[in-house]
């Protein structure tokens, strides 16, 4: 039996390899070597610190409204890890982890949230779309791109990120249906972080799991512990291989928790009590990986200090570089609207310049 059969959503089991105490499930086998695990742990620490810096910059007025990843690092690092060059990523708006894993620079990432669209320009060769704010809309794009690859005979896969809230959108259901009908090489990765702003998962859908929605569309779904890096990697790896081999889409529900606010504009104390967060704290993806690495003799306080200091230094430097980028010239907001600036736009730009 394969993973997808073993964890068929209607069996009511969540796939987990690494338990919260840092030990492996009976029979559980890590998909990584020790060194690979340490490297990904380091990446997750970096992501968390870069995310926290974004939050603090926003509070100081140096950043726009920001949607933090805090708590969802394993979902994003684990699900991008099995991707290969040429694969495409369609994020929502909380994907600092996926972005950095795909090779988007932190400077670019920061630039965008500082209010400069140039930050949305992915470097050549990195197939990651800009942030998608209209919830769930990007799921269809991931299907379309995968479909195009299939038509062209390219052996690539696409992955769409979205949250539990997005599963209520028509776009999501249309995307799932198209993917099922046309067997597109698409991975639907739902980061079920339990909240769509203030609305809890229980009010979002009457389905017992999000994973089970895949069944209605005729393809595999699996619920994984989204705070378990190993489980996320294993499930995504299987989905990616399946998609690449022509066997169609998969829906992965990563069960995780949004430790932070929805965005910096949100005050979660209005709808979430501190006690509700408590049970999730020991499930933190970084805590569990740290315990595992400690058990393998690869982690101690010194390692943590070194990793943290290195990360903070790089983040300091990046903030400096991003803030040193000058405010874009006025032409910038006109020149990318079309391949060639249209006469009305030229006229409007000239007028605007004359008023500055």
């Amino acid at each position: 039996m394969g993973l997808m059969e073993d964890y068929h959503p209607l069996k009511g089991k969540m796939f987990q390899i690494l338990k919260p105490d840092g030990t492996l499930q009976p029979g559980g086998k890590p998909p990584l070597t020790d060194q690979e695990t340490l490297a990904l742990y380091q990446k997750m620490v970096f992501i968390r610190l870069a995310d926290q810096r974004a939050l603090s910059l926003q509070r100081q007025g140096r950043f726009g409204t920001y949607a933090p990843i805090w708590g969802q690092e394993a979902c994003q690092v684990g699900s991008t890890y099995p991707l290969q060059k040429g694969d495409w990523v369609f994020p929502a708006f909380r994907e600092i982890g996926a972005a950095l894993m795909m090779g988007i620079s932190l400077k670019n990432f920061y630039l965008y949230w500082m209010g400069n669209e140039m930050g949305s320009r992915a470097p050549e060769g990195i197939n990651m779309m800009p942030v998608s704010v209209p919830v769930g809309s990007q799921t269809l794009h991931a299907v379309g791109a995968a479909w195009a690859a299939k038509i062209k005979g390219d052996k690539i896969v696409t992955i769409a990120y979205f949250g539990d809230g997005a599963t209520s959108k028509g776009d999501f259901h249309e995307a799932m249906n198209f993917a099922g009908v046309f067997k597109t090489p698409t991975i639907f990765f739902c980061q079920n972080n339990q909240f769509a702003i203030s609305v809890p998962r229980s009010l979002q859908t009457a389905s017992k799991t999000i994973a089970q929605k895949a069944i209605a569309y005729g393809f595999d779904g699996i619920q994984v512990d989204g705070n378990d890096l190993f489980a996320v990697i294993m499930a995504t790896k299987e989905a990616v291989e399946k998609a690449r081999s022509g066997a169609g889409p998969t829906l992965i529900e990563g069960v995780t928790y949004r430790f932070g606010p929805h965005t910096t504009a949100d005050d979660p104390t209005k709808y979430r009590k501190e006690e509700e967060i408590e049970p999730w704290k020991p499930l933190d993806p970084l805590v569990r990986l740290r315990l595992y690495l400690k058990g393998r003799g690869l982690w101690n306080e010194e390692v943590e200090t070194r990793i943290t200091e290195e990360a903070q230094k790089e983040i300091d430097q990046t903030v400096k570089e991003a803030e040193a980028v000058p405010t874009p010239e006025v032409e910038e907001i006109f020149k990318y609207v079309f391949a060639e600036m249209t006469p009305p736009l030229k006229e409007q730009l000239e007028y605007l310049k004359s008023t500055l």
Binding site: G64, T65, F93, Y112, M114, G115, N116, E117, V131, V133, P134, V135, G136, G165, A166, S168, K169, G170, D171, A196, I197, S198, V199, L203, Q204, T205, T263, A265, D266, K270, Y271, T327, P328, V330, E332, I333, F334, V337, P344, L345, Q348, L349, L352, T355, L356
Partner: protein, 332 residues
Amino acid sequence: MAEGDRTMAKLNMVEAINLALREEMERDNRAVILGEDVGKEGGVFRVTDGLQAKFGADRVIDTPLAEAGIVGSAFGMAVYGLRPIAEIQFEGFLYPCLDQINNHIGRIRNRSRGRFTCPLVIRLPYGGGIHAPEHHSDSPEAILAHIPGIKVVIPSTPYEAKGLLFSAIRDPDPVIFFEPKRIYRAIREEVPEGDYTIPLGKARLVQEGKDVTMVVWGAMVREALNAAEQLKADKIEAEIIDLRTISPIDSETIVTSIRKTGRGVIVHEAPKTCGLGAEIIALINEKALLSLQAPIERVTGFDIPVPLMKTEHYYLPNPKRIILAVKRVMSF
């Protein structure tokens, strides 16, 4: 403070709308509120704060995250006999609702020859100027005004918001109620408790002036007032008309003013092409062409997506651009 036996309080627009919703929910038990985060959280801008606690989760409903679902269900509720007040969290999330608005909400009365009607309100914060993320700064009012069977209302002050919202909820037809989020908390004024309505389809003369007519709505009223104040130094007296309702438009008030001043400047945040400014100019041409001393000027956003915060200031109409336009029409 009191005016007669009414209690008056200085409220901002968020508080004024909240008060209107609360009073209307008390008055009319058919009124229900539905939307994303409107219940427990009280809305992302706190417009529905405290209402779920007061009226219960059956009347102030946190829906799943689906704008077309919210508006399509509101249609069903309205047809059945409720008075739904739907909230779309930001104007950028309105677009999935256009199918329901254009194809059903705006035409059910006409299609059923009056048998079925759809008295609902869709409230939505709109417009730029708050350094918001992408898709949180659009001004799509002209898109809605272009749809038959839909009324479109845009308040410009807290007092106006309360009176217009009462009228919108009680209107027998569907109303889109755009709330200029930039001035949600920027203006405080006395707003009475209790009932008063401001009729839909009637513009407001904000200030009289003999030289030039400014036609504005929403957050641009404040910009126009600012520009008009500065223009006094040049001995230019601007008349300011706050449209309040952009569909149906109050052409009479506009035309009366243009006949007096002979000059006009229209200001809107929305892109220039096919913006409401073009419609207003056409109305003036139809009804008051011979009164014109100069071509009407438009001060608008541009035909580009609203930029993010680093460059948003380039986009938004401001008093400086309004003054330049006024001087051009004055010196034509």
